[in-house]
């Protein structure tokens, strides 16, 4: 090719890539070709792309290291516009036609990153250097910080709203198997055969796990591929088994609640994506038993310049050749401390790649020696790679001879050239999920790994099989899976059926690994200005061995401190490759053993999960419920603006064309006071209470007394919490001696219902009462104003509406517009008013009939704002606006609503007598009149004694409610003032200032009843 790209693609008999289906894609602005079955990573490697990223701190060039979820370097930005997604791992991005991938680091380009200039001074930027500098002068910090921030971050957040959708799905299964590798497949099959409900999830596009990378192994005489194909086919035939691929179990919570996210569309070309389908689905799986078969990740060995592009893990190298048919170079060096790397080496050599093995062990497995020998692979045993050579890609390695017992350099070795370098330090089991809810892995020195035991958490229903348990040999893993599953199935009252399953393999028996994590280089730079080449532990965060050593030197001795000081394992890979190396290197620096050092805490997410998937359906219109009344459509048609009241949506005001809120509210208020208005009051909570002890119950629940309330009458009640603070209010009607109907505030209904039930069930079960929420049953139209009787009379002939027959605070049953109705003569405005309650099915009809009937009186529907003005004119409180949870009835000047003589100590009563609550100079609710009648105080204005503002200014209280009263032709307000009730009546002390928006406004403390103090208006 013209820009001398290398083609690393080979024809491989087992490759899962379909060479007949080429796909074109772009990366970092350049076009490339890959094939169906490729990941972005395999396609880039096939195209010989080495540098895919620049490192976070030092701007060093970085290449692809892994082949899956463990990848720390190859973070890419996929797609553009509303679909752009940052920080995906190229190793997990499936290729599709037209895929557009961008880099997430490197400025101005991948080839040259400005950070790398700074990176040249990396010796001055060790772990935590920012804590020691950027301090002086103090004023400069924002500027320093700005520069630091400019260097921050990988990918870019989308800036357009997401156009794709997500949802959740709940599962309840007998057994969840996490991981569809050889052991997971076997586990699922054994369970599936027993008939229990099984769910198998695997994060990859295809089942098989690491078997996909080791096609040459034979299981029960079958090739790995055929063996798994058989199992998959049988699983597919079992109706009690569900398989989800591309599904990552990312969190395990209490009692085996597993969250897993399924990617449904990201692997499809745009043209094949379906707008009615989800982009991702989050599964919430409640499993009686869980089998973790999550496998393991190979960790690389740590050595100088180990971050050069072209350096990867041995299993990644193996995976690329065997699964994707990509040889990552022409001349490979593979360093290992164990047997694992040999299979890949052999496979690579068979594909024609020159391979050299550097085995840190003195003695290598004779069987592998034999095989490598046959293929002409040179093996250096007892050597290690102390340093990689190269600038923007690996070009060779320096070998050192290692001590036989200690990890020290005992001699020098040759330099070997290569274009790809792989290493294997052993496997690190994927123990993450096991640990999310408190499980801990154990160090196994023989396996050189933090492992989890097969049935160590059996009592929690969690079992583990395969590589996660430290069993790395396939045959042993399969055999143990069988044993573990027998145990699981016994727990589920089932027996195991393993007929026809051959589990023996043709693997080469494993010989012991060497305990080595960091290859020494033998250099002594102590006290000199010379440094070692950096040996990286955590690639994503540029954490080098020297950083860990520095942290320890500075007394960051807990592994959690080391993590936090160096950022080890902090990246988007969460240290899948780096953590164990870090623990080991820390252990060495601390002079401790690895288990003494321990691990950091494994937390969700196992791999990152989109906010969209977490949110599921709870976005947009279904974010949170909206509750509507039966008249919603009518209100909308009438031009209402709405207000949230708790979960309810209520009309706020009904603006006519050209009106603003003020004009509309003034009009609504005047119409109501002068003729008739109507309010949708359906949202008030309503609780039907029955039983012989209702009165006693109400006496205990409410501050006021209920013993005397006669049938046919209503009464206002104040509800206190046990601390004596007002929590709700409303009118309760006596229907019969044993039947009451309570109303509550709109926002407080559910809380009150629970409150009543709780006291009844827990404290007073002896009281014979039942209560039922009837809020939704009743639709309530409040007909308010001097003409309300006239309007009602047109529709209601079976109730005598006359002044004396149907008195203020009475209720009556009858019909309104031909519909059975319960009518209350109560008033929240001080006007003659009726609240008409009907079965909500008729709600809209009755509302409209009332509107028609009121037409001749110019009936005016009004919303919550006008309701607030009208009630404020009368000095009525709104709980939640004029109270804030710190207000007693006495503070509200509502002693009349407190029955101090009731025999039972009603809820909150005792609290009213506490030394602080019983003070008489508390903040008290009063009326406020601004000196200038045209000035409407700001709700939330603070009240102070003088207009002199020199902080701190003592505050007396604040304005809770404030309106322009069209009826009075002036502004009015309510608010709290220390000792306000006394001050109100004391000339000279009754002036305060309301402070808001930088202005102090002179205000007079007055009674809070501004209109009709005698109550003449409602008494007509």
């Amino acid at each position: 090719m013209s820009d001398n790209r290398m083609n690393n693609r080979i024809k491989h008999p087992h490759s899962k890539v379909n060479l007949n289906k080429p796909l074109s894609f772009t990366f970092d602005g350049k076009s490339y070709q890959g094939f169906a079955g490729d990941t972005l990573a395999s396609a880039l490697l096939a195209n010989g792309v080495k540098v895919v990223a620049r490192s976070f701190k030092y701007g060093r060039p970085r290449g692809i290291i892994g082949a899956g979820a463990e990848e720390p370097n190859a973070l890419v930005q996929i797609d553009t516009g509303a679909r752009t997604t940052p920080d995906l791992k190229a190793t997990q991005v499936e290729l599709y036609e037209g895929l557009v991938a961008g880099r997430t680091s490197g400025w101005p380009s991948l080839a040259f990153d400005l950070k790398s200039v700074g990176g040249k001074f990396s010796r001055f930027m060790p772990a935590g250097f920012y804590y020691k500098t950027f301090k002086a002068p103090v004023k400069m910090w924002p500027i320093y910080e700005n520069i630091i921030r400019r260097a921050a971050g990988y990918g870019k957040s989308p800036i357009e709203a997401d156009t794709e959708t997500y949802d959740h799905q709940h599962h309840h299964v007998d057994l969840l198997v996490v991981g569809g590798g050889a052991t997971g497949l076997l586990a699922a099959l054994l369970a599936g055969r027993s008939g229990v409900k099984v769910l198998l999830v695997d994060d990859q596009s295809e089942l098989g796990g690491y078997l996909l990378s080791m096609p040459n192994v034979k299981i029960g005489g079958l090739t790995a591929q055929n063996w798994s194909a058989n199992i998959i086919a049988e699983l597919a035939s079992l109706p009690n088994v569900t398989i989800l691929t591309r599904t990552t179990a990312f969190a395990l919570h209490d009692m085996n609640m597993i969250q897993a996210v399924e990617l449904l569309q990201d692997h499809l070309p745009h043209s094949a994506r379906n707008a009615t389908q989800r982009r991702e689905r989050m599964h919430r799986i409640r499993a009686t038993k869980v089998v973790l078969a999550a496998g393991a990740f190979e960790r690389p060995l740590v050595f100088g310049n180990n971050d050069l592009p072209g350096i990867m893990t041995a299993s990644a190298l193996t995976t690329y050749i065997n699964r994707y048919g990509v040889a990552c170079g022409k001349n490979a060096v593979i360093m290992t401390s164990n047997d694992l790397a040999y299979q890949g080496a052999v496979d690579l050599a068979a594909a024609g790649v020159k391979v050299t093995i550097v085995d840190t062990r003195e003695h290598i497995n004779p069987e592998w020696a034999n095989r490598t020998n046959k293929l002409g692979i040179k093996v250096y045993s007892g050597y290690g790679v102390s340093e990689a050579i190269g600038t923007s890609a690996v070009q060779g390695v320096k070998l050192v001879k290692l001590g036989a017992l200690k990890n020290i350099v005992t001699g020098s070795g040759p330099d070997i050239s290569c274009d790809v370098l792989a290493s294997s330090g052993g496997l690190s089991p994927t123990v993450h999920l096991f640990c999310h809810d408190g499980g801990r892995p154990k160090w196994d020195e023989a396996r050189l790994a933090f492992v989890v035991s097969a049935n160590g958490r059996a009592k929690d229903g969690i079992f583990c099989v395969g590589a996660i348990t430290g069993v790395f040999a396939l045959q042993e893993g399969l055999a143990k899976t069988r044993i573990t599953l027998a145990e699981v199935l016994t727990d589920l009252d089932k027996t195991i059926d393993d007929s026809g399953l051959a589990l023996e393999t043709d693997e080469i028996a494993v010989t012991p690994a060497r305990h080595i994590f960091h290859v020494p280089d033998g250099k002594d730079v102590h006290g000199t200005i010379f440094t070692r080449p950096k040996a990286f532990v955590d690639f994503q965060n540029d954490v080098a061995v020297s950083d860990i050593q520095l942290a320890v030197r500075e007394n960051y001795r807990s592994i959690e401190h080391i993590k936090r000081y160096t950022a080890l394992g902090f990246g988007t890979d969460q240290g899948k490759l780096s953590n164990v190396n870090g623990f080991a290197i820390a252990a060495e620096a601390l002079g401790k053993t690895i288990p003494e050092v321990g691990t950091t805490t494994y937390r969700p997410a196992y791999t990152p999960v989109s906010f969209g998937a977490l949110a599921g359906a709870h976005v947009g219109i279904t974010f949170e419920p909206r509750r509507y009344t039966a008249m919603q459509a009518t209100h909308e048609a009438y031009g209402a603006e709405f207000e949230d009241v708790g979960q309810w949506i209520r009309p706020w005001y009904f603006a006519k064309p050209g009106e603003d809120i003020h004009a509309a509210v003034n009009r609504e208020c005047l119409a109501t006071r002068n003729s008739v208005g109507m309010l949708d009051a359906s949202t008030l909570g309503k609780i039907d209470i029955r039983g012989k002890d209702v009165r006693e119950f109400l006496n205990r629940i409410y501050a006021n007394a209920w013993t005397q309330l006669a049938v046919g009458k209503c009464r206002y009640g104040l509800m206190l919490d046990e601390a004596g603070m007002v929590m709700d209010d409303g009118v309760t009607a006596c229907i019969t001696d044993t039947h009451f109907l309570m109303t509550t505030t709109s926002g407080g209904a559910a809380r009150v219902m629970t409150w009543l039930e709780k006291w009844h069930q827990t404290e007073w079960p002896e009281l014979e009462v039942y209560m039922t929420s009837v809020t939704d049953h009743w639709t309530t139209a409040a007909l308010v104003g001097p003409k309300s009787r006239d309007v009602l009379a047109k529709l209601c002939t079976d109730i005598d509406l006359s002044k004396d027959a149907f008195k203020f605070m009475d209720w009556r049953d009858g019909t309104v517009a031909g519909v059975p109705a319960r009518v209350f003569r109560i008033s929240f405005s001080g006007e003659l008013a009726y609240e008409v309650n009907v079965d909500a099915s008729y709600g809209n009809y009755v509302w409209n009939e009332l509107m028609k009937a009121g037409k001749e009186f110019d009936i005016t529907p009004y919303g919550t704002e006008t309701m607030h003005v009208l009630r404020a004119e009368k000095g009525f409180i709104i709980v939640g606006q004029d109270t804030d949870g710190s207000v007693t009835p006495f503070d509200l000047d509502m002693a009349w609503a407190v029955g101090m003589k009731k025999p039972y100590s009603f809820l909150g009563k005792r609290s009213l007598a506490r030394s602080d609550t019983s003070r008489t100079d508390r903040k008290q609710l009063v009326g406020l009149l601004p000196e200038d009648p045209n000035v409407v105080l700001k709700e939330g204005a603070q009240l102070i004694n003088s207009s002199d503002i020199t902080p701190p200014v003592p505050m007396l209280g604040h304005v809770t409610s404030s309106y322009y009263s069209a009826f009075l032709g002036r502004s009015i307000a309510m608010g709290f003032v220390i000792d306000g009730i006394k001050r109100r009546d004391e000339e000279g002390r009754n002036i305060v200032y309301a402070w808001a928006e930088g202005k102090a406004v002179k205000v007079k403390i007055v009674s809070s009843v501004f209109v009709d103090a005698e109550g003449a208006r409602h008494n007509v």
Binding site: P86, D87, F121, R123, F124, P126, F129, Y130, Y131, K132, T133, K135, A136, W141, P142, I148, A152, G153, G155, K156, S157, P158, M282, G438, V525, G527, I529, L550, N555, Y556, R557, S558, R564, Y565, F570, T572, R603, A605, P608, G612, L614, A615, G616, H618, I621, F623, E624, D644, Q881, S886, S911, S915, K938, E939, G940, Q942, P951, P952, V953, M955
Partner: protein
Amino acid sequence: MKKDYSIWKLLSQGLKNHEGWTPTWRNPELKPSYDVVIIGAGGHGLATAYYLAKEHGIKNIAVLEKGYLGGGNTARNTTIVRSNYLWDEAAMLYEHSLKLWEGLTEDLNFNVMFSQRGVFNLGHTLQDMRDIERRVNANNLNGIDALTLNAQEVKDRIPMINISKNTRFPILGASFQPRGGVARHDAVAWGFARAASNYGVDIIENCEVLGMDIVNGNMKGLQTTKGYIATSKVGCVTAGHSSVMAKAAGIRMPLESHPLQAFVSESLKPILDTVVMSNAVHGYVSQSDKGELVIGAGIDHYLSYAQRGSPHIIEHTAAAIIELFPMFSRVRMNRQWGGIVDTTPDACPIISKTKVKGLYFNCGWGTGGFKATPGSGNVFAHTIANDEAHPLNAAFSLDRFHSGHLIDEHGAAGVAH
């Protein structure tokens, strides 16, 4: 105190392979007795020890920590710092703290990365806006910077925010405190540890207090996993575990320990340069200097000491963040975790003497005590040293739960912060 952290030292050490750096805090042997023992090496405990040594001249102090220092809530909070509380008592205490934050990096000679990028508290209902107005006015009268913004003004400052009226909880406005911001949580613990250690304070990690030796109502000493320690003054600063300590002292506290969770996204190029909090939709978010979105969730309502919470809380928070910032839907959560917060009935802390002479408690910071770290340590040190409350914490005594003089900050404290 030695103030040897500087760019010059860094450069010179850079040339010497950083071999000359000394321990950030000493690793001393535990002594058999101390004048004052602080239980809990979180930010508050370490700050207390620091100010005891620095301002009250007490030298023989130990801070005991059952795990690693700074590993409690200090390690797991979303680091929001602000002082715009409603009631005078709380506002003054948090403002005292905010002032100390402003000089903390210099005072400790440790860059705590205190970044005054401003804090928005969004309002979504008319009542939210009334409460905001009330709080902002109170703040201004207390000399605390704060302003009320309408929805458009919020949008002008945070261009990505969704102020559409069609959302479930449309943004109607916000309060904004420009001096608020975030700080690097770990640095705060380490900076105080280093400074306290320099004053001779012994910080003992992996030392759990198991029991208290109280004779006739007087503090005599502590049983710990490292043995008995004689002391007549104990400051208990154990956050989520305060009730456990109280039980050891034979007293009860008005505390409930709940899980509070948070999560971070993957690291992104800077996109959000301030702190946004919303009580109505239950979420808050800022972006750290490393680039991850740091997002706080709500509490679980059950008691827990397990340092993890329920996933539906996190799910809801993700939804809330999308409601505010629909473009973050494709951003991914990298890690989630939980802390144990000690909540009080009035969402205000307890900084108080107790019935036991020589035993002091500093707790109840609930979801929002990180911001108070320096101020809390400062007044608590005073309280311990003088056996009498500092004027700024007098109102935060245990007595208030008997007198009824609660300082109800639920409105300003909101979900969590």
